[in-house]
């Protein structure tokens, strides 16, 4: 029987080490208490009905000892756990983007180049993948046990998470937050591939238009370009090169323009107003679908992408082209 899921991400080893440490502590104290209880219970069993126990004086020293020792141990756990947590919560810069839309009861995953998948995700090993996730209805949770990571997908905002797979294979993708009748059917697979296989997979299948291109369409559809169109004297700030930059807000604060900020600026524009612009942008709360928001963000992101290609970045770590792998997966709705 297995006691651990496969270790298929860079987190897995750290989480498992931490787990083993906690198991050791748990085993030690459980056994210690268990053995002491049993030994005391046997050794000091009542031998006659009128037996009187021996007086044991209370000991302040003992109380302090068994307060301080657990304190020390839990502090080790805390700092260790926090370190692993920081690793899990901070995506590195060189990650490729995958956009996830969760809805009852399916996962829609979109790669920046336009590949769309349903309940399946293909990723290469050795390449950090950043997930920008949105939910169209209730709270879901993106959970891959083999990667030892999960993240709730909360409606009304983007949830950003990342991972780096290390071992090719096929792993469960679960929805971990109860989301309604067919919650337990909201599962899928993550296919982790070698870079070569991954390139082959990308090459196969017909990617639709890129996410950024879809976003560009939405940008015009919603008439965003009338104010944010980079024309001189525009009513709204320019969005070119915005993503990832620090923005000066009208209330004096500065803020890094990340996915969350861009989303908030669309649905709640007055919350964090850019300095020097009037509060005239209407809210798009409820007017743009979650998928549309993700596309807009991908588009705005693409406006700051280092290569001027316009499209969002394709993984830079692309090795030389290899012939298509025979058993490539094509997503099916």
């Amino acid at each position: 029987m297995h006691f651990f899921p496969e270790e298929a991400s860079t987190f897995a080893r750290h989480v498992d080490s931490l787990y083993l440490f906690l198991i050791a502590v748990t085993a030690f104290f459980s056994l210690m208490i268990g053995v002491l209880v049993v030994v005391f219970a046997i050794k000091y069993r009542r031998k006659s009905a009128d037996e009187v126990a021996t007086e044991v004086h209370e000991s302040g020293v003992l109380e302090i000892v068994w307060t301080v020792i657990p304190f020390g141990i839990v502090m080790i756990m805390f700092f260790w756990g926090a370190r692993v947590f920081f690793q899990i919560t901070r995506p590195p810069q060189n990650a490729i983007d995958v956009y996830v839309t969760a809805k009852q009861w399916m996962w829609k995953l979109q790669h920046a180049d336009g590949h769309r998948e349903m309940n399946e995700l293909h990723v290469p090993i050795g390449q950090p993948v950043r997930l920008t996730m949105a939910s169209e209805d209730v709270i879901h949770s993106f959970y891959v046990p083999a990667f030892r990571f999960k993240r709730d997908v909360v409606p009304g905002r983007f949830s950003v998470a990342w991972f780096e797979a290390t071992k090719p294979g096929k792993y469960h993708l679960f929805c971990a937050e109860y989301c309604g009748t067919r919650h337990s059917n909201m599962i899928g697979w993550v296919y982790v591939m070698t870079p070569a296989d991954y390139q082959a997979w990308l090459a196969g299948g017909a990617p639709g238009e890129t996410l950024a291109a879809s976003g560009a369409k939405r940008f015009v559809e919603n008439a965003c370009n009338t104010c944010h169109g980079d024309q001189p004297g525009a009513r709204g700030p320019s969005l070119t090169g915005l993503f990832g930059r620090r923005v000066q807000l009208s209330n004096g604060q500065t803020i890094v323009a990340d996915e969350g900020y861009i989303r908030e600026s669309i649905v709640n524009p007055q919350a964090k107003l850019v300095a020097g612009y009037p509060a005239i942008m209407p809210t798009f709360q409820g007017l743009i679908s979650e998928e549309g928001l993700l596309q807009l963000v991908a588009y705005i992101k693409s406006l700051s992408a280092p290569p001027p290609a316009g499209a969002a970045a394709v993984p830079a770590a692309a090795p030389s082209q290899t012939p298509p792998a025979p058993e490539r997966k094509v997503s099916r709705p």
């Binding site: 901070r90 995506p91 803020i255 890094v256 990340d258 969350g260």
Partner: protein, 102 residues
């Protein structure tokens, strides 16, 4: 007849508090129209807290109540503060670590 006999400053105190509450109500309405930047709300809350304290201390006789009552009131304020500030601490620090660095 605990609390009574000592007198709660008598009727005079009631009318004094009443007058103070009226003045503070007028003050808070006046202050709401002033441009105080971020200080509008803190000032309004300070005035409200003062009014609440007056009601509690005099009208509700908290001033002459046993220490235990004061502890009960204190604990309600403490735990309300837990609820408010610990929840707010999440919202206020959500962006302290930007999820994207460049």
């Amino acid at each position: 007849m605990s609390g009574h006999g000592k007198g709660h400053g008598g009727l005079g105190a009631y009318f004094a508090v009443f007058a103070a509450l009226m003045v503070l109500t007028a003050l808070t309405v006046w202050a709401a129209y002033q441009h105080l930047g971020i200080w509008n709300t803190p000032l309004a809350l300070t005035i409200a807290t003062t009014k609440a304290a007056l009601v509690a201390l005099i009208f509700m006789h908290l001033k002459d109540s046993p220490k235990l009552t004061a502890m009960v009131v204190g604990s309600s304020i403490l735990f309300l503060a837990f609820l408010l500030f610990v929840t707010a601490s999440d919202y206020l620090t959500r962006r302290w670590i930007p999820i994207y660095f460049r």
